[in-house]
Amino acid sequence: MKWRHVFPKTTGWGTVSVFLVTLLILPTIFLMVRVFQPASENWKHIREFMLKDYMVDTLTIAFWTGVFSVAVGTTLAWLVSAYQFPFRKTLKWALLMPLAIPPYIGAYTYHGMLSYTGVIQRTLRDTFQLDLHQKYFDIMHIPGAVFIFTIFLYPYVYAITRAFFASQATSLIENARILGSGSLRTFFKVVLPVSRAAIVAGVSLVVLEVLNDYGVVSYFGIQTFSTAIFQTWFSFGDLDAAIKLAGILMGIVILVLIIEKWLRGRRKFSYSTTKVKPLKPTELYGWKKAVAVGYAGIIFILGFLLPVIQLSYWAVLTFDQIFTKAFVSYIWNSTFTAGVSAVMVVVVAILVANYTRMARGIVPAVTARLTVLGYSIPGAVVAVGVIGFFIFLDEQIKKILAAAGASPALMLSTSIFMLLFAYVIRFMAIGYNSIESGFEKVGMKFTEASRTLGMSWTETFFRVDLKMIRPAIFSGFILVFVDILKELPLTLILRPFNFETLSTMAYRYANDEMIQESALASIFIVMVSGIAMYIFHILIEKEPN
């Protein structure tokens, strides 16, 4: 092995990138090291009496959400790709919109709608004189959580599978049709098997989101790893036990990623032809048309329209009471933290992505892999790692200052910097993927042309590369900004004292059974996410294949 194959020369870009990525993975390393420390009394109690429940509940929710998301996501993707029916064009993007609603907001909204004084029971009582037993309207249990996760997260499967149908599967589907295969047979015998890699990619995102969630399960009172980590930290103040729980949750994540890799296998399905033609949809008639519109329509209504109408109604009702100076400060806190973190993510992503594309070798390849690691780590795990790491840093700073005879003026572990740092770790992958794909689209030819004309890497970066990847930078920034705006578990654990954002405020109100009061913050988050998603849909549709 030659040294130039391990760590190629790239002026300062390599050094800066390796330093930044090391900084980002330090909390994870810290967590891994601390996992194996001797157990505390709390941990012994958790392991003996509660660990099994955490494991069963977490895996049950993740498994069933995965199953239902595949069922809903793939059937909808197939429907809008292969068939022509009324409102198809609108539904094509509308079916993505549930992603704009964070599941925790969906959970409060559904609970509010289904409660005794909610719109559904009131309508049944007042209009139809039906007074049914409360158990029929209770969704605060595991099946209810599975419903909430499925209806708001299935778009991951839908989006990836539909993109696959549009770009790759056309000739195979057309061949199946020519060979006399009917709709159902084509779907089960051709479409599902060839789309396996895409479906697995989508469902693994869904499962990772479920493992990351704290808002839904804590609101529904379900014991999962996320809620357990929160309780252990906030109620017992036991960082070591929280770290052990985080370690096990991380183990589950690694298992999910291994299963994903195994399920995908070698089936990457990249074809020798680069000619991409869209699938020509078949016109549906009669009852089939009605079923198609009804099915896609109901999912859109349940996953987006109904919650948004309900939230808007509540927001109007409580607007005067909630829209105060304090609320404006929550908007500012949310946009400030999301904006600053998104800028940091984009800057680091640009530095690392430019380094990994300019240099071939082991170090650049490993750097690229480590950069995207954070997104698969659940928020609660990142939070515990970051807290542990910052407390450790504070202790070191204290020691150094004490030796110098001074007392520390600022503790890192109580500052906003800790939250921003955690956001950067958690959402780096989103910014990085966007910028990396921007670089990939542009390729190396312009960079090389500039260098042969006498420009250094850095001059080339500012005069050529940066200008050419502007759309990717914009996309990366917006995606990260919106995700941070919606984020809950990291923010709850790591925010400084008395620091509220829109998401923590929505959570706090909902937890205090003031669901209507939580609506204004929720609708603000949903609107910003929805607009961003719609813009992306337009941009992607405009892009040539």
């Binding site: 030659k2 130039r4 500039s450 042969t452 004309l453 006498g454 420009m455």
Partner: protein, 239 residues
């Protein structure tokens, strides 16, 4: 000799076989050399090694008085080599006008010199009236001429051309080829160009280097190398 390349070797990480092995080349100033070979023969890699876009594992490259790479791992970065290169798909910067593209490599020139050089280059390729246009407003042939003007503008010590005609329609190829030869000869620039097309090599090159599997098969004048190839190719057919 003006260009001296000897014992040049290159391999990609993770591959056992060398992409370029023991390549050598000696050129006089003003000479035009064609590296001819099939796809995958390593000819483009040789060009990238000379340009400094790849780092060789062994060998020396010297142009004029400058040592590009040599003993003890000495390696001159691409931007310091003072070369001109025309890429296969031209790589004109899409966000810059023709004027900005051509003057891109003249950053250390005085403003007045830069302007004069721009006019000179536009005159050389007969495209004076196109300087405010963007690359996407030009035809394939025009883009190729701008790419050549951009490469020649900084007065490079060596001009490198990577499959310069592969993106052009067949009916355009001959005309552009003649123009290119005329421009290169007019400026007297030492040139190495890579092609898989024997006709390109025959028309443009003073000498041809035939490569296969990253090693030199033959070197000589076009009439010697190509005649022999044709004869060799015919043997099995006639047999």
């Amino acid at each position: 000799m003006y260009v001296n390349i000897s014992d040049l070797c290159f391999d990609y990480p993770g591959t056992k076989q060398k992409t370029v092995a023991d390549f050598f080349l000696h050129m006089q100033e003003g000479e035009v050399i064609s590296i001819l070979g099939e796809s995958g023969s390593g000819k483009s890699t040789i060009l990238r090694l000379i340009a400094g876009l790849e780092q060789p594992c062994k060998g020396t490259i010297k142009v004029g008085e400058k040592v590009f790479c040599g003993a003890g791992g000495a390696f001159l970065p691409v931007e310091k080599r003072g070369l001109g290169m025309v890429f296969q798909d031209y790589a004109l910067f899409p966000h810059m006008t023709v004027e900005a593209n051509i003057t891109f490599g003249l950053k250390r020139w005085k403003r007045s010199e830069r302007k004069a050089r721009l006019e000179e280059m536009l005159g050389l390729i007969s495209m004076e009236e196109y300087k405010r246009r963007y690359p996407y407003e030009l035809s394939g042939g025009q883009q190729q001429r701008i790419a050549l003007a951009r490469a020649l503008a900084p007065k490079p010590s060596l001009l490198l051309l990577d499959e310069p005609f592969s993106n052009l329609d067949a009916h355009l190829q001959q005309r552009i080829r003649d123009e290119l030869r005329e421009t290169i000869k007019k400026t007297g620039t030492t040139t190495i160009f890579v092609t898989h097309d024997q006709e390109d090599a025959r028309v443009l090159a003073d000498r041809i280097v035939m490569v296969k599997g990253g090693t030199i098969q033959q070197v000589g004048k076009a009439c010697e190398v190509l005649k022999e190839t044709v004869t060799k190719q015919r043997v099995p057919v006639e047999a």
